[in-house]
Every structure is written in C-alpha cells, then in structure tokens.
C-alpha cells in the first residue's frame, strides 16, 4: 500500500493538487516537488484538495509555508479545500486559518480565483 499519493489537474483558472493518504515527514518532499513544478511553470493559482487526505503533520504544514509567500507575491494564492474534520483540526490547532483560506468545497475556492481574476 502506498502511504501517500498526489496528482495535479487543471481546473481553470487554477491548478488543483489532490492529496491522498498520509502527509508526514516521509511523504512531504513529494508535495514540495509538486509545488516547485507548478511554480516553475508560473502557475500561481493553486487549490489543494484534501478530500482523501487522512493525516497531516507539521512536515506537511511546512510545505504550504514554504511556498505561500512566493505564490502571493505573484498575485496568486494557495487555497485549501475539502478537509476532513481530523485534518482541519491540525490546521486549526496551529492557527493556520489565519493565513489560509479554507473552503469546504473546491468549487468555492475556484470561484474565488475567478472573481479575483476579474477585478
């Protein structure tokens, strides 16, 4: 069984990273690579879909911290969507909702990008 997988799909005007499984110090480097690839392609509208993510530790949280500044300085954002209560709890424990927009629905995150784009 693979502990963690991710895949990236297009959902204009954003790219969506779908996460599955367990995001910890062992698997976080994969997410870091995925973000780096998106940034290399100049993709700065990023939604992370957590629907199938069962676990996150500080190693996973660190990846979002590593890229959010650059993404925002390029007029983009990292928006988070569809977290299970367990995973949301970890974000909440540390106050991450202060820094990140978290949506219960991926559509809403995308709509937000579309609106931002039209301003």
């Amino acid at each position: 069984m693979s502990q963690f997988t991710l895949s990236v799909r297009e959902s204009p005007p954003a790219r969506v990273i779908d996460l599955t499984g367990y995001l910890d110090a062992h698997t976080a480097p994969q997410l870091e690579e995925a973000f780096q690839s998106l940034l290399n392609e100049q993709q700065f509208n990023i939604i992370v879909n957590f629907r199938d993510l069962a676990y996150i530790s500080s190693a996973g949280l660190g990846v979002f911290m590593a890229f959010v500044e650059e993404v925002r300085s390029n007029s983009g954002d990292i928006k988070l969507a569809e977290m299970s209560p367990k995973v949301y709890n970890v974000f909440d424990l540390l106050g991450f909702p202060m820094l990140y927009e978290i949506y219960d629905d991926e559509q809403k995150a995308r709509a937000k990008f579309s609106n931002e784009g039209s301003c």
């Binding site: 910890d24 959010v68 424990l93 540390l94 106050g95």
Partner: protein, 145 residues
C-alpha cells in the same frame, strides 16, 4: 520507566531512525490510546504529537542517519498514558524552546519549528532528561479525564 506495579507496559520496541517508520508508530499509539479509553479525536492528536517527537529524533537527534535506532515504550497506569522515547543521539530539551508566537510566525512566513509546539499543545506533560547511560529520554504524558 521505573518499575512500578501500577504501570502496564503496552508496547516496547527498538525502531530504526527512518521516516518510513512514522506510519507504524502513529498506528500503534492511536490504537493503544483508543484501547485505553481516549476518544478517536484525542487519540489522533496523541499520535500526531508522538509523530512530531519521533520526526525530531530522526531529523535532529540522529541528523537523518538511518542506521540509528531509538526506542518507544508505551505504558499506562491509573488515568495516565505515557509514551517514553529514548535515543542515543544529540541532547535536546524541548522545554528550552521559547513559546511560539504564531502571529509573528505567519507575519514573517516562517517555516518549521511547529513540531515541539504541537507536542506541547497536545500532551499534558512533556519531560526530558538525560539518563545515567547518557541517553535522551522524552516522556510524553496524557491524562484520561
């Protein structure tokens, strides 16, 4: 861990200092915590705290050397669930770190440094000491209330 008739050892094993082991470690802690009577959510957080402590041993105590080992012991007594982590790497007392100011953390867009913060938020008691054999012993305690 002192031998004390009231304590039951529920798990004790040497573990290779590799992040591949974190998944199994969490499963053991979560299962034992639920078995002892914690609700699912608390057990999940306890597994998170132990993950963070083990990640630190792997990354910092042993600086990523995958040939090292540390030991995890889980024991319980009365209303107390105790995880003892023992390693033979660099010494570090997590209680020596200043409390994180999350507002400043986000303002400066910092990274890392959240593990010890999580451990302290989740566990009721975090005690570090160096044993007579010069090992680092970290005791994480959670009370069933």
């Amino acid at each position: 861990m002192q031998s004390d008739s009231k304590y039951i050892v529920r798990f004790k094993e040497g573990i290779l200092s590799r992040t591949e082991e974190l998944h199994r470690i969490r499963t053991v802690v979560e299962d034992e915590a639920v078995r002892f009577g914690f609700d699912r959510e608390t057990a999940f957080r306890m597994a998170l705290a132990v993950d963070e402590a083990c990640t630190n041993i792997i990354k910092h105590s042993y600086s990523g050397n995958p040939r090292k080992k540390f030991e995890m012991e889980i024991c319980t007594g009365n209303d107390r669930f105790v995880v003892v982590l023992t390693d033979y790497g660099r010494s570090f007392n997590p209680n020596s770190l200043p409390k994180l100011d999350m507002k400043r953390y986000f303002e400066l867009c910092m990274r890392g440094g959240l593990g010890v913060h999580i451990i302290k938020l989740v566990m009721d008691d975090v005690a570090y000491h160096i044993t007579d054999a010069h090992a680092n012993e970290l005791r994480l305690v959670k009370y069933l209330t």
